[in-house]
């Protein structure tokens, strides 16, 4: 891998690049699924290629190829430089990068059981067993299960002398039971929506989920929802279970803190951010108990946003985003860090694959745990709604006004969970919502969830992000909005 990278760097330099970096990535993926007792998807894919990014004439250029011969790689690097020179035709100021030293290192993510060494037959048998368990429930009309495994081996090299080798194994699995009755379709997912739980881990993750053990409950709840009470409308206290809270964090904290969005670089597609630069260290983002970090280190957990180095060679870091409710940090890369005068990149430059430019992405953006136990939180709530498992999510292009719905909810009355509620939804304004948080459950109930399907950029890239959360309570939230009127 090193010699291949050097061909690219050498060509870029000869062609006049003042900076160049290279990502050689070898990705293997296995996708399995079942539906209604039959195997659906059973496929494996591999891809190997190189992406070259350069600065020439003060502007960026990027090219990628799967032709990994010397000529192919040199042509790719030459193309990147030519593209940079074209960019310079419509450039404003020259690109500048926050300083970073060179690293020569190797990093391997955790993986106890290589999922590619587990026979597909055994993996499918597990999925089919969970599928069958859901189908035993009368009224379930559709059952789906899935497993996904992705092994990424990558080599990063740069013209400042970095040479970093990393290996990451990502695994995910989940089940969904759907019930159609009358004019109503309800579903229940386990352990979470978006294909379940995903982490930087091997097959041990799948084994830990106990898909079969939870299948019947998923089926039963999907059917029971038809007879549940419709979510009431009005202003209520809500408690979000940690899976839903993870997505709340993703949409209403993770995205608005992306510094490239703040600086207008995503304006045409995903939009801007309400977190203009004047709000840094000035805005009350949440209540005093709200503390959020963006932490890519393994010490934070084996999340989808965990790595040794980001994709422009910056070591994984922990950046405080919200401290005791105060907004304190953005997600940055070397270019945006320099733009706003930070000493160093926050190490959040990531790419989906060799054919995509690295851009700022969430790492593990997590709400730090509090002190409560869920049962005490419920007992302490006189009139509220416990909402669980995301069903729909929508937010404006500044990341300010949102609306979410969940698969299921329970009413809380007099400190007890009472009736099941269907079609729960809630909406709010990001900062008002987080300032209404008055209780967060403790570390024992904190889960580092994986969101595998975050889309960003043009051309679009899909990235996995991590979000740690424990159940938390929010006051005076507008509920029932999606079905109102």
């Amino acid at each position: 891998m090193r010699s291949i990278a050097n061909w690219a760097l050498d060509t870029a330099k000869v062609r006049g690049a003042t900076y160049a970096d290279v990502r050689l990535m070898d990705i293997r993926q296995r996708d399995l699924s079942t539906k209604n007792g039959r195997v659906g998807t059973c496929s494996e894919a591999e891809t190997l290629g190189i992406g070259v990014r350069v600065i020439a004439n003060g502007a960026w250029g990027f090219a990628s190829t799967d032709r990994l011969t010397r000529e192919g790689i040199s042509a790719c690097a030459a193309q990147a430089v030519a593209i940079a020179r074209a960019s310079a035709l419509a450039r404003s100021k020259a690109v500048e990068l926050a300083p970073e030293r060179a690293y020569v290192d190797s990093w391997v993510g955790p993986c106890r059981k290589d999922p590619f060494h587990i026979p597909v037959e055994r993996q499918l048998a597990l999925l089919l067993e969970a599928d069958a368990e859901m189908r035993k429930v009368a009224g379930v009309t559709l059952t789906e299960t899935s497993m996904t495994f992705r092994r990424i081996e990558q080599f990063f090299a740069s013209s400042i002398g970095s040479a970093i080798h990393q290996v990451k194994m990502l695994s995910g699995a989940g089940i969904v039971a759907t019930s159609f009755s009358g004019n109503d379709i309800q579903k229940r997912s386990y352990p979470n929506s978006f294909g379940g739980q995903h982490a930087l881990a091997g097959y041990e993750l799948v084994e830990s989920l106990d898909l079969v053990g939870h299948a019947r409950r998923a089926g039963e709840e999907s059917v029971a929802l038809h007879k549940a009470a419709q979510c009431p409308e009005g202003s209520r206290t809500i408690i979000l279970e940690s899976g839903q809270l993870g997505l709340q964090i993703h949409e209403s904290i993770g995205h608005p803190i992306e510094l490239d969005r703040v600086l207008g670089m995503e304006a045409n597609f995903a939009g801007m951010s309400f977190l203009t630069l004047d709000k840094l260290r000035a805005l009350r983002y949440g209540s005093e108990i709200v503390n959020v970090v963006a932490d890519a280190r393994l010490a934070h957990g084996p999340g989808l946003g965990t790595f040794g180095y980001d994709d422009e060679g910056v070591p994984a870091q922990c950046t405080p985003i919200i401290k005791d409710g105060l907004f304190t940090g953005y997600l940055s890369d070397r270019e945006t860090a320099r733009t706003i005068g930070l000493e160093r990149s926050g190490g959040t430059s990531r790419t989906e694959s060799w054919n995509r430019l690295p851009i700022i992405r969430m790492t593990n953006v997590s709400l730090l745990p509090g002190t409560w136990r869920p049962e005490d939180l419920i007992a302490d709530t006189d009139d509220g709604i416990w909402m669980e498992t995301n069903r729909s999510w929508s937010i404006d292009d500044r990341r300010y006004h949102f609306q979410f719905s969940t698969e299921i909810a329970w009413e809380i009355k007099g400190g007890k969970k009472t009736r099941m509620i269907k079609n729960p939804s809630y909406s709010g304004i990001t900062t008002e919502f987080w300032n209404s948080c008055d209780a967060i459950c403790s570390r024992e109930y904190w889960t580092l969830w994986g969101t595998p399907n975050c889309g960003k950029g043009q051309p679009q890239q899909v990235m996995g992000t991590g979000h740690g959360a424990a159940p938390a309570r929010f006051r005076n939230v507008k509920v029932g909005v999606a079905f109102a009127g």
């Binding site: 079942t34 209604n36 039959r38 195997v39 659906g40 059973c42 496929s43 494996e44 894919a45 591999e46 891809t47 250029g61 090219a63 990628s64 032709r67 990994l68 011969t69 000529e71 192919g72 040199s74 042509a75 030459a78 193309q79 593209i83 074209a86 960019s87 035709l89 419509a90 450039r91 404003s92 009309t141 559709l142 759907t178 109503d184 379709i185 600086l263 207008g264 670089m265 995503e266 304006a267 045409n268 597609f269 939009g271 054919n355 430019l357 851009i359 729909s392 929508s394 937010i395 404006d396 292009d397 006004h401 909406s427 304004i429 043009q458 051309p459 909005v481 999606a482 079905f483 109102a484």
Partner: protein
């Protein structure tokens, strides 16, 4: 959907000596794809083998704050192999095309297939087919260079600067080709170019947007699109706040596209079999207005894509909605057999659990111009586009999302300035029953759906549930 990037090739073209980012220089010759496919078929000892090869070369110039800030190019080639052994099938894909790697991908597919349970619904691979002719490759588009795109962006940025506006957007060009063949002699091939221009123009408290794409870059007019977006930003300065409620709305084609795109999979036979379609128990019943008809038609002059499906069957024209009544679904071969229907050529690559989907939707249009729709509206909202649309209720097809980049009040039949953006929660079934007038159908491009041919629509009682504070 994720792309599957490229392949390791033995040959070494001298691409760096010519216009380096022109797609035409990076696409392999069609004969190369055929050679690889034939090699794979020879390497396989499966009962049946199917090979799909995709190759693409794309480039995208991205700009923000009136300057190019990202500028990228890629090329890839993927070889995807499906093998069948005694009713068991699986797929393996690679981007390496040396002999050892081709042997490997066949072996992986075979090993996976042998570990499957038998699939009683698996049909033999189809034999040779005939396909509708489509011409979607334009050499001028394939030859587009980064310098050409940069010069366009520079001119656009100068317009923005002159007007005190900030421009952001993309200009992309590229080409792709695909081949599908199998051990029963089926062979289908398709080549296509693609070009897209999207622009957002921003002012302090307003913005405007326009986007278009086509197989032919010559048919795009970036300057016109920029002027369009610029006008919208100017005309919606100092937006007023209007309380939410039910409104008559005039939806421009991009807004219609991004809403109606959420219906596409409801017309899949598999979705109905799985009881997850909003058309379950509604087929044959008039649920939309009589002015609503819908076809899937790959040959429509404003459509794009290959004229064959994931199994190599020709895509047939299907009347999905006939004057307000959902009439027909689309079917892959296996779904057609289960539902006692005829295959329509909309199947996805096997094996999969989704079945099929219509990908070339053409909605009925009308003759009312946008100006006439506005003039006939006493009080309403003109919507440029919609954003972050998600499904809230799959059976009543309630969607939520936001307006964005040019939301206008219509007052007394005239456009009366900008208003703050709204969130909507709206049933598509209800909406399509409330369409008062349609304009001529055009090829529209959005962000939430693949491109379709859709008209602008004037709709009554569209439900805006919340208003933004900006």
């Amino acid at each position: 959907m994720k792309k599957g990037p490229g392949a390791h090739q033995a040959r070494e073209p001298a691409t760096h000596r010519v216009a380096p980012a022109a797609a035409a220089e990076h696409l392999p010759a069609p004969g190369e794809l055929v050679r690889i496919a034939d090699r794979v078929l020879k390497l396989s000892d499966a009962d049946e083998t199917e090979v799909t090869i995709d190759a693409a070369a794309d480039a995208l110039t991205r700009f923000a704050n009136n300057a190019i800030h990202q500028n990228v190019a890629e090329r890839y080639l993927t070889v995807s192999v499906r093998t069948v052994f005694d009713g068991r099938t699986a797929r393996a894909t690679t981007n390496k095309t040396d002999e050892d790697s081709l042997k490997q991908v066949v072996a992986v597919s075979a090993a996976l297939a042998r570990e499957q349970p038998k699939d009683p619904s698996l049909l033999p691979v189809p034999g040779p087919q005939k396909y509708p002719k489509v011409r979607r490759f334009f050499p001028r588009t394939a030859a587009s260079s980064p310098d050409e795109r940069a010069r366009v962006v520079k001119r656009i940025a100068q317009i923005a600067v002159k007007r005190g506006q900030t421009a952001a957007g993309v200009f992309s060009t590229g080409a792709f080709q695909s081949v599908i063949t199998n051990s029963r002699g089926l062979f289908a091939a398709h080549r296509q170019t693609r070009a897209e221009f999207s622009i957002t123009m921003m002012e302090r408290d307003s913005s405007g947007w326009a986007k278009a794409n086509s197989a032919d870059v010559a048919s795009l007019s970036p300057h016109e699109l920029a002027e369009n977006a610029s006008w919208r930003a100017l005309a919606t300065r100092a937006p007023r706040e209007i309380p939410p409620g039910r409104f008559t709305v005039v939806l421009e084609p991009a807004a219609v596209l991004d809403l109606l795109g959420f219906l596409f999979y409801d017309f899949a036979g598999t979705a109905v079999l799985d009881k997850r379609s909003c058309l379950n128990e509604r087929m044959g019943k008039r649920i939309f207005g009589e002015n609503i008809s819908l076809w899937d038609d790959v040959s429509h002059p404003l459509q794009s894509g290959a004229p064959f499906d994931g199994e190599g069957l020709p895509r047939r024209k299907v009347l999905l909605v006939d004057r307000g009544t959902p009439r027909n679904l689309v079917y892959a071969r296996a779904t057609a057999r289960k539902m006692r229907a005829k295959p329509t050529g909309h199947g996805m690559a096997l094996p999969n659990e989704w079945g099929e989907a219509p990908m070339n939707l053409v909605w009925s249009g009308g003759t009312t111009s946008l100006q006439d729709m506005i003039a006939s509206t006493e009080y309403g909202v003109l919507v440029t586009r919609l954003w972050y649309i998600r499904e809230v209720d799959p059976y009543e097809k309630i969607l939520t999302g936001m307006t964005r980049d040019g939301t206008f009040l219509i007052d007394g039949g005239k456009v009366g300035g900008g208003i703050r953006n709204f969130r909507f929660n709206q049933s598509l079934i209800e909406m399509l029953a409330n369409v008062e007038t349609l304009g001529p159908a055009v090829r529209a491009a959005g962000e939430e759906s693949f491109e379709m041919v859709v008209p602008p629509m004037k709709v009554r009682d569209f439900h805006f549930t919340e208003v933004t504070r900006f």
